[in-house]
């Protein structure tokens, strides 16, 4: 074979591969089969408690309706694997995932709109949870099945040792954090304790995720919704600047945040609280079981997040049942979502010490105290109902969270940076992101 035919063959091969790489397609109506089993994907660790909880719920649903459900637990690269199935036009029927994934999934066209009339019991859902399942166009694309908010965890023994009250505002929080850092609350004679645990890494936007509890309580915001439904960047407003400055001063001026926070995501941060290196931590209820085991229930207390300059708003999160596009059994999808939010489904989801998948119930008629006889859960339930807020449902929240995390991370890592200049730069970037998504205010 001379050179030119080889070359032609190579080019032809590449072209064929390129053509293979291009996919065409679109959502098509699939023929319905009322007996088709449901394939359910949950973003949880395979073999872990979350998977056990999902299987328990699926088994109860099967017993109640006779409808088969196959549960698959995936944690790493969940969204990537879902994209692969989307490319094959073979999506699972149900996806149980973070409520904040709504915008991304709607943009990709992989979820179908939820007809609330077809979901029995949807009128009993808590309004904030239901609102979080709506996209920017006001249509509902998910059914919330679990909710959670953040509260403040404090090392009770340390607090008693330094003789300070439970903090109810930011000043008291800063004072207590200072005492934990300087007064040797663990009594080991070494200056190795810190006031506040902060997962300040940029990974998955952790720094921004954690800071939202303080930003909103301070009256600031990442992006502000306008009257016409568009959004404006809001990180350089006076309230946002003040909240960022206060948070940054904890790390840079009073130095009450654990060292290395700028490169820590949640696992090492959780360890600092467990190992007696940090005395306060603002987190959701999902860590209680872990900390009870590591520290003991008596060692720490759960209290509402202290009030900021505006109020005590904390981040609300949760899980949603997503009804995926292209399902051959839409009736069963609706039935499963109805079961997940029914009082029975909610209770099954909450039962157990570890293998529970419902943190706080989203059904108004379900009282958490009837299932979990633990007053700490009531603190979380109150925080969720009285002063919590979800991330806004924009087409893609991830870039906003990530860009903000980059800046917050920079500010706590480099105390010499000009805060106002960085936040102005951040607003420019956020403006570009919003424009890219077609929701930027002109």
């Amino acid at each position: 074979m001379s050179r030119s035919p080889k070359l032609i063959a190579a080019i032809a091969g590449m072209t064929a591969l390129l053509v293979a790489g291009c996919s065409t397609g679109g959502a098509e109506k699939v023929a319905q089969d009322p007996n088709a089993p449901l394939e359910l994907w949950a973003r949880t660790t395979p073999g872990g408690d979350g998977e056990k909880g999902m299987k328990k719920l699926a088994a109860a649903f099967e017993q109640a309706t006779g409808q088969k459900v196959e549960v698959t637990a995936i944690f790493d690269d969940f969204e990537t694997k879902l994209s692969q199935r989307a490319a094959q036009k073979d999506l699972p029927d149900i996806v149980m995932n973070d409520s904040s994934q709504l915008g991304t999934m709607v943009t990709q066209g992989i979820v179908r709109e939820v007809n609330l009339a077809a979901i029995k019991g949807s009128d009993q859902l808590l309004q904030p949870a239901l609102d979080a399942a709506k996209s920017g166009d006001g249509k509902t694309y998910g059914v919330p099945y679990s909710a959670q908010a953040a509260a403040l965890l404090i090392r009770k023994d340390w607090r008693q040792k330094v003789g300070q009250p439970v903090p109810t505002n930011w000043d008291q929080l800063a004072t207590l954090a200072k005492a934990f850092t300087t007064e040797d609350p663990d009594g080991n004679g070494k200056p190795d304790t810190y006031g506040l645990a902060v997962p300040g890494s940029t990974k998955r936007g952790y720094a921004s995720w954690y800071f939202s509890n303080f930003l909103w309580a301070g009256g600031g915001d990442f992006i502000a919704k306008q009257a016409d439904g568009s959004y404006k960047p809001a990180m350089s407003t006076p309230e946002s600047v003040a909240a960022t400055k206060w948070f940054r001063d904890l790390a840079c001026t009073s130095k009450v945040v654990q060292p290395g926070a700028a490169t820590m995501d949640t696992p090492p941060t959780n360890e600092t609280f467990e190992a007696g290196r940090t005395g306060m931590y603002v987190v959701g209820p999902y860590l209680l079981a872990r900390f009870d085991k590591a520290l003991g229930k008596d060692k720490y207390e759960v209290v509402p997040a202290p009030k900021g300059p505006k109020d005590a708003t904390v981040l609300a999160e949760g899980g949603s049942v997503y009804l995926m596009a292209g399902s051959a059994n839409e009736a069963a999808q609706d039935k499963f979502a109805s079961f997940a939010i029914s009082p029975e489904g909610q209770k099954i989801g909450m039962e157990g010490e570890k293998a529970f998948i419902v943190q706080l119930p989203v059904n108004k008629t379900v009282d958490i105290a009837t299932v979990r006889n633990d007053p700490r859960w009531k603190v979380y339930a109150d925080a969720y109902r009285d002063g919590s807020r979800y991330a806004p449902s924009i087409p893609n929240w991830t870039p906003v969270r990530q860009t903000t995390a980059d800046t917050i991370n920079a500010l706590i890592a480099d105390c010499g940076l000009d805060l106002n200049a960085e936040l102005t730069k951040l607003d420019q970037k956020l403006g570009e992101t919003l424009s890219q998504q077609g929701i930027g205010a002109s």
Partner: protein, 308 residues
């Protein structure tokens, strides 16, 4: 570059069997290569081609991709984050390549020899290469603890320095990742140097000794020229490795603080897999591939010119 055209030797009166062996069964080597080639085709070449096609589209796996032409390239080339990530990648690649080669060469000179003790030391020195990067990164993250209690801070404290923030401060973060990379890459380079050292004619050393050359002169005039091809291979391998740095950065700093350690690979990961903008991420991946290809070709051309 000059290409000399060689005329084939006139056919000899060889038997038909040898001729068939020489030119007939052309498919035999391909048969041996086939298993690897099939795996490479499926897991490497087809995905690479798909990345090229994705880089000119807005990727929507379910709804179908839409053609956007050079828009993804325009976006990534004009973004400040890509430019700074490129710069960081180049710095990291140069630092890790130079550092690993220098340290690897030093180690190779120290552990070259035949005794059993040395082979044990060689194996021990090679350990960082076989330890999974995730484990290495986690260990170094602990060692880089930014207070005076941290192991590395205790080490530099012995000479009166520190405590340093290491990976937690924008001024020292890239250097810290570089150090981790050098620690891990040097033993690999050491092994290749050892192979190269074994190929140098001992007679040259003896002649140099007879001529009264010192150890330094022997290294300079015998060892280094003898290792020239090894340097070229290592340079390409190490530079490509440096360009593709991902795991250590992702696990140690994830590109922070303040973007000081963001490299092209972590940026591609964020754009493609975290933000679901696979088209823009693919454009970045294609650009990285082109840069690596250009670098490799340049090194090959330089080598040929030198040896011509």
């Amino acid at each position: 570059m000059t290409a000399s055209v060689k005329t084939p030797p006139p056919p000899t009166a060889s038997t038909g069997w040898t001729r068939r062996r020489r030119i007939g069964q052309w498919w035999v080597p391909w048969l041996f290569l086939a298993p690897a080639l099939i795996l490479f085709l499926y897991f490497k070449f087809i995905p690479m081609a798909q990345a090229v096609s994705m880089s000119v589209q807005e990727v929507r796996p379910y709804l179908g991709n839409t053609w956007v032409g050079a828009a993804n390239y325009a976006e990534i080339l004009t973004s400040e984050s890509f430019r700074s990530a490129t710069w960081n990648t180049i710095l990291l690649a140069i630092g890790q390549t130079g550092g690993s080669m220098a340290l690897g060469f030093g180690l190779a000179l120290l552990v070259e020899g035949q005794t059993r003790k040395l082979s044990f030391i060689r194996s021990a020195a090679f350990l960082p290469v076989v330890v999974p990067m995730a484990v290495v990164a986690e260990l170094w993250r602990i060692m880089y603890h930014p207070t005076s209690e941290g192991l590395m801070n205790q080490v530099i404290g012995l000479i009166g320095l520190g405590p340093s923030g290491f990976i937690n401060h924008p001024d020292t973060s890239l250097g810290s990742i570089m150090l981790t990379g050098i620690w891990r890459g040097a033993p690999y380079d050491m092994m290749i140097f050892l192979a190269g050292l074994a190929g140098i004619d001992r007679g040259l050393y003896e002649a140099a000794t007879v001529d009264g050359a010192s150890t330094k002169q022997r290294i300079l005039h015998v060892t280094l020229p003898g290792l020239r091809p090894v340097f070229a291979i290592l340079f390409v391998l190490a530079a490509v490795r440096g360009f593709r740095s991902f795991t250590e950065v992702f696990l140690l700093t994830n590109g922070g603080p303040n973007g000081s350690t963001e490299v092209v690979m972590t940026l591609i990961y964020k754009l493609g897999l975290e933000q679901n903008r696979l088209g823009v991420g693919s454009a970045g991946a294609v650009l990285l591939f082109v840069a690596t290809l250009v670098l490799t070709i340049c090194v090959q051309l330089l080598r040929r010119r030198r040896s011509a």
